[in-house]
């Protein structure tokens, strides 16, 4: 597979390390520090634990279009989000993961703003 790096042009996939589904960019917020004596078995903690479990361990693993993280270890050490077809191996789009993460953040902020 050839990955069309946004900065370096076409590079062989063997220069990269594969991490997995690009949903790994969106790490859920942790409950944060608690003051001593505070109940940690409350609903908020349970919800956070569940979210973290799902984030670390569950995957959609879909057949077809798949957004995924690749690391250019033997190149410029950038993280990329590659949109690839898991049935044909065709690559549709390659972006810098940083750009995707920032776009996700802005999207979340504007969504929050509308509420």
């Amino acid at each position: 597979m050839i990955i069309n790096h946004p900065l370096l042009g076409p590079r062989d996939s063997s220069e990269f390390v594969y991490l997995g589904d690009a949903c790994l960019i969106n790490r859920p917020a942790w409950v944060g520090e608690r003051t001593e004596g505070e109940d940690v078995n409350d609903a908020k903690t349970a919800e956070a634990l569940q979210q973290y479990h799902d984030y670390v361990h569950l995957r959609q693993n879909n057949a077809g279009e798949h957004k995924e993280l690749w690391y250019h270890e033997q190149g410029d050490r950038s993280w990329l989000v590659v949109t690839r077809n898991t049935i044909t191996h065709e690559i549709y789009n390659v972006e810098l993961a940083k750009d995707v993460a920032l776009a996700n953040k802005t999207a979340r902020a504007t969504q929050g703003g509308k509420k």
Partner: protein, 431 residues
């Protein structure tokens, strides 16, 4: 051994249908007289149990449900043809050389079932206990193998630690003095070996069919009938089929099938490639695995060297891999066995595997009543076929986990009871 072919008397076929005479007669008459050994039924409206997926595990589950738990109102639904999945694509190695207490007794039960399989099925599956040798190349690796060997012995399996001389006696042609990874010895399991993979699918299919199980090919499950949190059947290209219990058993397609029930699984699908050389004179009589890289090799009865290595490492449902892994496998082969460089490669292929988050499988209920899940077998589910079938049948029949499959729960990441043989964490392509 527990049983012989006589167990089948009274069923639709009895005893011995194959003979040397029949083979010669068929050879001379264009092989037109062979009969199918299982039926091609139309699906009934409803079954007690529907098994999705006619791979090794699905067919074994059906066989043990019928033969050990007396449940015969069962259908196996297969979207293609039985034996067309990974059960017919793997490199046929069986072994019980695991470390963890959640795994080793399970795989040792599987080994025992392999040892009695041909008598149980009255079918020649060519179970060949030719021995599997894991090479070690450093002191640290030797110590790890000592520990593993002890864990094997504790489960009742056999294990033997060989020094360099011991390995040299078995395989003098290995590259013992390799500059980077000299061979210092190996862990030998003599009861490990290979089994004819297609025959496993066919043998279990015949065993199940002869007891009344319907094996329905070209029948793809396209959805589940779920009402009020209870699964009452499946949607298929042959219409809806009802069932009291539905058991998914689709290996590499696990996420695709279970997503139809709204579930995300702790699984990624990856491709593993396999390779076969031209036929050669006998040179390797067992199975050898490289300890410093991903490479393993055996020789088929036809003479082809059968070998493989690492998975490609990215999510895929394509049953083919890419060239960098081909190169890696061949380099690793050259590192332990330079003579392999003279052999020509005849063919290679890939199969899609269900790589789980800790490298271990699942045999469990789901949160949906009546819906069960078996999967996450990674690159090592062929050896597990008999035990997986028996334990899944046990779960389906009794609604309790079989005692050697208690660790294979779907919620083990939540409860902290992961079964990670390699200690690599939630990164499926590293297991």
């Amino acid at each position: 051994m527990r049983n012989s072919g006589f167990r089948y008397s009274g069923f639709r076929y009895s005893g011995f249908r194959y003979s040397g005479f029949k083979v010669i007669k068929e050879a001379l008459t264009g092989h037109k007289g062979w009969k199918p050994v299982w039926r091609t039924p139309e699906p009934k409206k409803e079954y007690d149990i529907i098994i999705i997926g006619g791979g090794g595990h699905g067919l074994a589950t059906a066989h043990y449900l019928a033969s050990r738990y007396n449940i015969t109102n069962v259908a196996v639904l297969e979207k293609g043809w039985i034996g067309g999945g990974n059960v017919g694509r793997n490199t046929t190695i069986i072994r019980s050389n695991y470390l963890h207490p959640e795994n080793q007794p399970f795989y040792e039960l599987s080994m025992k079932l392999w040892e009695g399989l041909e008598q149980d099925l009255n079918y020649n599956a060519m179970v060949s206990q030719r021995g599997i040798l894991n090479l070690y190349h450093s002191d640290g690796q030797r110590d790890a193998y000592v520990r593993r060997g002890n864990s094997m012995l504790m489960s009742g399996a056999d294990a033997q630690l060989l020094d360099q001389e011991g390995v040299r006696e078995l395989y003098p042609f290995l590259d013992f003095d390799n500059a980077r990874f000299p061979i210092k010895g190996g862990l030998l399991q003599k009861r490990g070996g290979t089994v004819r993979h297609d025959a496993v699918a066919w043998g279990y299919a015949r065993g199940a069919d002869s007891r009344g199980v319907d094996i329905i090919q070209n029948c793809e499950v396209t959805g589940f009938l779920i009402k009020d949190g209870k699964c009452t059947g499946v949607k298929t290209n042959k219409g809806n089929i009802g069932a009291k219990k539905v058991a998914s058993c689709v290996a590499g397609s696990s996420s695709r099938v279970m997503s139809q029930a709204g579930m995300n699984l702790p699984i990624e699908s990856h491709v593993l490639q396999a390779f076969v050389s031209e036929g050669l004179k006998p040179i390797i009589d067992g199975v050898i695995t490289f300890g410093a890289g991903h490479f393993y090799i055996s020789q088929s009865d036809k003479g082809g060297l059968v070998f493989g290595g690492d998975i490609d490492g990215y999510n895929t449902y394509a049953q083919r891999g890419n060239l960098p892994v081909v190169e890696d496998v061949c380099e690793s082969g050259m590192a332990i066995m330079p003579s392999i460089g003279r052999a020509k490669l005849l063919r290679n292929w890939g199969g899609v595997m269900d790589m789980s988050m800790d490298g271990s499988p699942f045999i469990d209920r789901t949160h949906i009543k009546g819906l069960y899940f078996n999967g996450g077998w990674c690159y090592g589910g062929f050896k597990a076929t008999p035990a997986s079938g028996l334990c899944y049948a046990h779960l389906l029949a009794t609604d309790t986990p079989h005692e050697v499959a208690r660790g294979y729960r779907l919620d083990r990441f939540k409860t902290g009871n992961i079964v990670d043989e390699n200690g690599r964490g939630a990164q499926p392509n590293t297991h």
